[in-house]
Amino acid sequence: MRRPALLALAIALFCAACGNDEPTTPTTPTTPPAGPGTQSFNAIMAPGGTAVRTFTASAAGTVTVTLNSTSPATVVGLGIGIPGTATGGCDMTSTVTASGGSAPQLSAPVSAGDFCAGTFDLGTVGSNGVLVSMTIVHP
């Protein structure tokens, strides 16, 4: 007699723990949202090549691109655009001719979404390539 009673009590307690009378709030996916950020990278660009990085703007705002340095010092193309099939996988919206510097050489208003920025050879890169250092600041 005692065993069935204990069993019944255990079942009752177990199911009571499963109950939930509080309204639930729908939860959103736990993937952390992309946020504003700064991406810095170095890459060796081969003759005729490109060095492109993609990034995601989490909101509308302004993107700035700074070619910090090239080694050896040379002039290269610097551009910003959207991921595609053109230059190094980047369809360039705006391009400039740039050498290293501390001030952004490119800035552009953007909507939220995926973008890309990078350098491309203008025919000036020697056979050993060039080390480019670049910083992208995005919303």
């Binding site: 079942i11 499963c18 509308a60 230059t87 369809d91 360039m92 391009t95 491309f120």
Partner: protein
């Protein structure tokens, strides 16, 4: 004896059902539609040239169209700031019947936007407005529901 054995089980089941019962207030799941992004790339060869691209809106919502790149076809990578025509409309036979259009230079924010598009097939046209002297490559981003 039999009653003594079954009574606790009946009681337990009653308690279990009460504990697991649903509450009065319920929540309904929210539906979030993730926008679809499409890339339309091509080349305009000569003055007056145009191309169009069709896409399908599957649920009612907004459409954003961005002429993102216009680059010289003979010098890959270098952008041109050439203004092109950009239009949005619906397919008509083998053409694209524009309902809205603008002339714009490439940028990274949408130059054409529309809201409350019903589920259907739509099209985007890019066309020369008289500025084209050499072939250009273009890239258009379309974001829709």
């Amino acid at each position: 004896m039999t009653h003594a054995f079954t009574r606790p089980i009946v009681l337990a089941l009653a308690l279990a059902m009460a504990a697991c019962g649903s509450s009065d207030s319920s929540t309904s799941p929210t539906t979030t539609t993730t926008p679809t992004t499409e890339l339309f790339e091509g080349k305009l060869q000569s003055r007056g040239d145009s191309m169009f691209f069709s896409f399908t809106v599957s649920t009612a919502g907004n459409v954003d169209v961005t002429l993102a790149a216009v680059t010289g076809a003979t010098s890959p990578g270098a952008s041109t700031n050439l203004a092109l025509g950009l239009g949005l409309g619906s397919p008509l036979a083998t053409d694209c019947n524009l309902t809205t259009q603008t002339t714009t230079r490439p940028g990274l924010t949408a130059q054409l936007t529309g809201s409350n598009f019903s589920p259907a097939i739509y099209c985007v046209r890019v066309f020369d407005v008289g500025n084209l002297t050499t072939p250009v490559n273009f890239a258009i981003r379309i974001v829709h529901t």
